[in-house]
């Protein structure tokens, strides 16, 4: 059981070495970072840390998505499969903005 647990952990670790997951939180009505730089294929995990609902969306050509709304403690993953700059916002609170820079 323990061995299985460790191999599993290793598996997860090695998997993330290929496609990295970067965490960005929404806290006090802001994204915790203004900008993240990732490689093509990497994942950004958006986590809501406020005690109310937020949204995450982008209308950019590089990556179009709308994660709907989700409460505190939940997260949604987005895989960025094309290089470019993606402006990410919360539709509920338009002052909440950040950028994902996806490199080739």
């Amino acid at each position: 059981m323990k061995a299985l647990f460790i191999t599993l952990l290793l598996l997860i670790v090695s998997a993330t070495a290929i496609a990295k997951t970067v965490e960005v939180a929404q806290k006090d009505k802001e994204f915790t970072v203004a900008e993240v730089e990732i490689n093509k294929g990497d994942v950004v995990r958006f986590v809501n840390e406020d005690p109310f609902f937020h949204n995450v969306y982008s209308l950019s050509d590089t990556k179009l998505f709308d994660l709907g709304s989700f409460p505190k403690g939940e997260y949604r993953d987005v895989t960025f499969d094309q290089a470019g700059t993606v402006e990410v916002e919360c539709a509920i609170h338009p002052a909440m903005k950040m950028k994902v820079i996806v490199k080739e």
Binding site: L4, F5, L8, I12, K27, D28, K29, V47, E49, D50, P51, F52, F53, N55, Y57, L59, D66, G68, S69, P71, K72, G73, Y75, A91, I92, H93, P94, A95
Partner: protein, 348 residues
Amino acid sequence: MIKLSRSLIFFCSMLSLYGLTFSSFASQYVFEAGHPSLQRWLLPEEVPAPDNNKTTPERVELGKKLFFDTRLSGDGNMSCATCHNPMFGWSDGLATAKGFKSMVLGRATPTIVNTGYNSIQMWDGRKATLEDQAMGPMESHVEMNMSIPRLVEFLKTSDYAKSFKKAYPDEPIGTETLAKALAAFERTVVSRNSPFDRWVKGEKDALTPAQINGFKVFVDPDKGNCEVCHSAPNFTDNGFHNIGLPSYGAETPDMGRFEFVPIRLMKGAFKTPTVRDITTTAPYFHDGSARTLEDVVDHYITGGVVKTNVSPNMKALTLTDKEKADLVAFLEALTSPQKPFTLPAIPL
């Protein structure tokens, strides 16, 4: 194997849940006059202004004249103050506005009280600043319906020219300076001396016990849950929500913010208005559908009448009659003492 990895993920996400710190909400307030936990509700003394339009007495004076001047409209009978009337809390007392030739418009006139503190303007947020907003009503055919070249020509050739020279010595008279002057005046229309403000500053008797209890209801996520959207310090999150008004059930409802941000959540979403000076601006909501503050609270108790696309931050409320009454009493404590307002003499 799959099961194990699932529970591992679950375990990890639970960990991160517990690791989270509590945000500055109800649990942190101490409901005592002047307590440090309450200070976030005080508005800054100075209303923020852009670098290229710092507030000066000359600019405010000019903007005030323009705001009340009916000659800024095509028919020469409508000013900004026709709809944003100081006698009606800088609104108009109507359910929805009346525009050019008394045409009934689709939305209520919002007050301009404290708009200078907000980071986004209009019910649907289509304007960012007061400067961006100001030319809109004059250009609009359904509102002031003014020919802008004719207006600029008039301003240049009338006694206004002197006031513009004093207010904006290095800039030409035109739409830009006109908009700036109006914005400078609007930034002086503020409310931050209400009984609630005085209580936050430490005046014990400024609020009644019922009003203090109403404030508790307002911020408590399990009671009124109002602070989620009407947040400190100006009782707005500068955000957009569909609060489930009956009018959203119409065949072709007003889509609000969705017309500018085509994200599903924004269908029927409108900007959270301030509730400062709220007793002076009935009727309420963008469609004027609530006549009194009791009507407003009754709406929130339902958690939204039309549930299609209602904001996830809305929920049905369980309030006792006393809590309801106290909540209304608290809202009434958000109005600053109404001072006499001196009308400007208009240059001819």
